[in-house]
């Protein structure tokens, strides 16, 4: 076949998105004069069906063998147009895109200058298109298993969906029990479903499902490989309790010398536990764990004459010699569902969270309200005989959300409704309570939310618009100082209890997963999705998906919906069984390679090795790339001394002419 380049250039109007600042006709006219360009056209929407048909017809009728599309970012539509080429029988890698929307029409106002820049970008793309080479996409098998990190409601739901479809799931949870944040909640808004009642059956299901391998009290240490073939290394931390022997009877915890002396994480420090503990009564698995930072035996090597838990345990399950265990397995896809941390209220010192015991957070009140909480569901503030039932209660909303001073510009999306829910529960539990809510705005956007907010107001909860400036003590009371911005009057409100509706933040250890999986963070520091609208569960790393609050604050229905979306994306990979791997990989010219091995050292994926080849009867060392391992970063190319390493579609010989074209156009 005569492979003399015959280029088709297609300039997109994108409605008026491009054409209002770029003279698209002039760009097409200019492109038609470029070397090797056979046709140059402009069209209103290149990505539309007729737009793509235009390209396909030209390939057939004009014999085009290269295509340049000047439109939006290749990150948006490169795959679309590659498919168009393939449909017309052309190798999909004969496509080059010029980004004249995101990088031109949308960022420039001056029509003349923007048009000149669009011409430059098109010229550079056309020059590169001349030099493109056909590439073959390789297919590899997909390991029919999935790793899910985090066993809150998102991870649980995704695990159940994938397992039900018949694939193996490794569900890794950092804490001793599955359940996550949802297990800490008492009721859920707006329906007031009992959180435990709807969650615990699912917790039991993941533990008993034959396709799910539950790894609690475990952390992912390392992930290598690529989409379809990830090698995962998980550290199962020592529980110091034999899981097979422990019956979950709890005698050990009753006997522990530290019983009732260690703040319980599950109860947000409101309740106390022992050094050997079950995080909460319905924990799954119902097996005890010894806290290695608290246990006297593990910290000091001595616990009285002998550890009481060991003496008490009827099955001899306690084993202080237990060590961490490393578990390794292969998966085809990964779902990250690591959830959130609540905002640390002490970062807003004006509200006195650290100073007064009757300033608490929403999650702490949640534990107080809960029947499984430290007070058995009674709203009691203070300890022992001094404990009292608060009558005047003020909620302060948006603590740590929509607040630039703490670096959180975003809305946490759940605080408005959990405040309404808690206010309702308080009026239910304390009939003569006088509850008011200080707010900036009420965002009741979900299904049934506005109705619930309305109901709570009808129940007598007062909403006062104004963001309090401070909370301080006066006598026995706390004073909430604010301005009622609807009446423009200053308020000094004397109350018994202040509840801070703290927002949601990324996990404090979010960095660890970023380092392991190469995720990106968005401006709010949550994990970033591949596209905010069209790829909300995908990430920049192929085969890795997001679910739940790890991606951004959301309520339970949204979390479950996203988890199901992530599960479905993971299943697409697993059930098709094949995945195409990166074709734009590096290649080393063995004729010119001198075998220095520098690229071998550079390669972050160990995809290059030195092999011995026969050159005229002599054995010579040369470097060779393993296509399946290469991810196409091109670090070896820039590092190669002899120019033998080249990245397909990003060769020196393709980029240098692009530079020259941009130069000529000046």
């Amino acid at each position: 076949m005569n492979n003399k380049p015959k280029i088709g250039v297609y300039v997109c109007h994108c409605g008026i998105n491009i054409s209002h600042t770029v003279d698209v006709e002039a760009v097409a006219e200019f492109a038609s004069q470029l070397p090797n360009v056979r046709v140059a056209r402009e069209y209103s929407y290149m990505c539309s069906d007729p737009g793509q048909a235009l390209i396909r017809e030209d390939i057939k009728n004009e014999g085009l063998n290269r295509v340049v599309v000047a439109s939006c970012s290749p990150r948006m539509h490169e795959l679309t147009f590659r498919k168009t080429l393939a449909e017309a029988g052309l190798n999909p890698y004969y496509l080059e895109m010029a980004n004249i929307r995101e990088h031109c029409s949308w960022v420039h106002g001056d029509r003349e200058k923007a048009t000149a820049k669009a011409k430059r970008l098109v010229a550079a793309a056309a020059v590169k298109a001349r030099l493109l080479e056909p590439l073959q996409e390789k297919e590899v098998d997909v390991e029919p298993a999935s790793l899910i990190i985090g066993a809150g409601i998102a991870g649980i739901q995704a695990a159940l969906d994938i397992a039900e479809a018949g694939f193996k799931v490794y569900l890794v949870e950092k804490t001793p029990s599955v359940g996550g944040r949802m297990s800490q909640l008492d009721k859920t808004f707006p329906t007031l479903d009992c959180s435990a009642c709807i969650l615990t059956p699912k917790m039991v299901d993941v533990a008993s499902h034959p396709n799910i391998e539950l790894l609690t009290y475990s952390q992912v240490e390392d992930v290598s490989g690529y989409v379809g073939n990830f090698d995962v290394k998980v550290r199962k931390k020592a529980r110091y309790v034999d899981m097979d022997k422990c019956t979950g009877c709890g005698v050990c915890a009753q006997e522990c010398r530290l019983t009732g002396r260690i703040p319980s994480e599950f109860d947000e420090g409101m309740g106390k536990r022992a050094a050997i503990y079950l995080p909460f009564p319905q924990a799954v698995p119902a097996k005890y764990t010894i806290d290695p930072e608290r246990c006297l035996m593990l910290t000091r090597g001595k616990c009285g004459k002998s550890p009481k838990c060991v003496d008490a345990c009827g099955t001899g399950a306690i084993n202080f010699e237990q060590e961490d265990e490393i578990v390794e397995f292969k998966v085809g896809s990964i779902i990250v569902a690591t959830g959130f941390d609540v905002f640390d209220a002490s970062r807003k010192p004006e509200y006195g969270y650290n100073d007064y015991e009757n300033v608490i957070t929403g999650l702490e009140l949640e534990r107080l309200v809960s029947a499984s909480g430290p007070t058995g569901g009674d709203i009691l503030i203070g300890k022992g005989d001094d404990a009292y039932v608060p009558k005047d209660i003020a909620f302060i909303k948006c603590v740590g959300s929509r607040d630039k001073s703490v670096g959180n510009e975003y809305c946490s999306r759940v605080c408005c409704m959990y405040t309404a829910k808690l206010a309702h529960l308080l009026t239910e539990k304390i009939p003569d309570a006088n509850v008011r809510v200080y707010y900036m705005d009420v965002r009741a956007f979900g299904k049934g939310f506005e109705e619930f907010y309305d109901r709570v107001r009808r129940e007598g909860v007062r909403y006062i618009r104004g963001n309090p400036s401070e909370v301080f003590k006066r006598g026995d009371k706390l004073v909430v100082k604010a301005e009622n911005t609807l009446t423009s009057t200053p308020v000094e409100d004397e109350v018994d209890l202040v509840v801070l509706a703290v927002g949601l933040e990324p996990r404090r250890d979010a960095r660890e997963i970023i380092d392991i999986l190469r995720l990106s963070q968005s401006g709010d520091r949550f994990y970033m999705e591949a596209h905010p609208k069209l790829a909300p569960v995908d990430t920049a790393t192929d085969g890795v998906f997001l679910a739940g609050c790890a991606q951004g604050p959301k309520d339970i229905p949204d979390t479950v919906a996203q988890a199901k979306g992530a599960a479905s994306s993971a299943l697409v990979l697993l059930s098709s069984g094949k995945v195409k791997v990166q074709a734009q990989v590096s290649h080393i010219n063995e004729d010119t390679c001198r075998g220095c091995g520098y690229c071998v050292e550079i390669c972050p994926y160990s995809a290059i090795e030195l092999v011995t080849v026969n050159q005229f009867g002599h054995e010579a060392l040369v470097a060779r790339v393993n296509d399946a391992l290469c991810k196409g970063c091109g670090a070896c190319v820039a590092g190669c001394f002899s120019g033998s390493a080249q990245q397909k579609s990003f060769m020196d010989g393709q980029i240098l002419p692009q530079i020259a074209a941009l130069g000529v156009m000046r």
Binding site: G523, A638, D652
Partner: protein, 144 residues
């Protein structure tokens, strides 16, 4: 060409995952910046061959920018560390041969930093403007 009218030409090499996506975000957010800078996409800042810098200066650029993910956030784990080291050395070399330090710029722009991308472009274009037209390496005839 008088000093005020001088519109420099800047060529930028952006990694696909962070800086190119950040520039896309600037576009989606309709953040306005000067037209002087043209972008060439590479998969990773670690792919940028130091030769590209010299070549760009030879072929008509008055300034060059290499932009990648923040160190530590590289999509390819360590590509931008290579870039950082390579271009630290490259910078020394350019200074040694008498190229104004303002002409070569390196930045770290993440996929969520559309606003920062604008600041970077403005700064780089301003730098090139101050440095003035670059003739030192210029090829008389450009072959493309």
């Amino acid at each position: 060409m008088s000093e005020q009218q001088f519109e420099p030409s800047v060529i930028a090499f952006l990694c696909n995952w962070c800086s190119y996506a950040g520039a896309d975000l600037a576009g989606t957010s309709r953040i306005q910046y000067p037209t002087n800078l043209d972008i060439i996409r590479v998969m990773c800042s670690g792919r940028v061959n130091p030769l590209f810098i010299v070549n760009a200066l030879q072929q008509g650029a008055d300034g060059v920018l290499v932009s990648g993910c923040h160190p530590g956030d590289c999509h390819y784990m360590e590509g931008n560390f290579y870039a950082r080291r390579r271009f630290t050395l490259m910078n020394e070399l350019l200074n040694y041969v008498g190229v104004d330090a303002k002409r070569f710029n390196m930045s770290w722009v993440s996929a969520s930093e559309g606003a920062k991308w604008k600041d970077v472009v403005e700064e780089v274009v301003e730098n090139a403007k101050e440095a003035g037209p670059f003739e030192q390496f210029r090829r008389n005839k450009i072959n493309w």
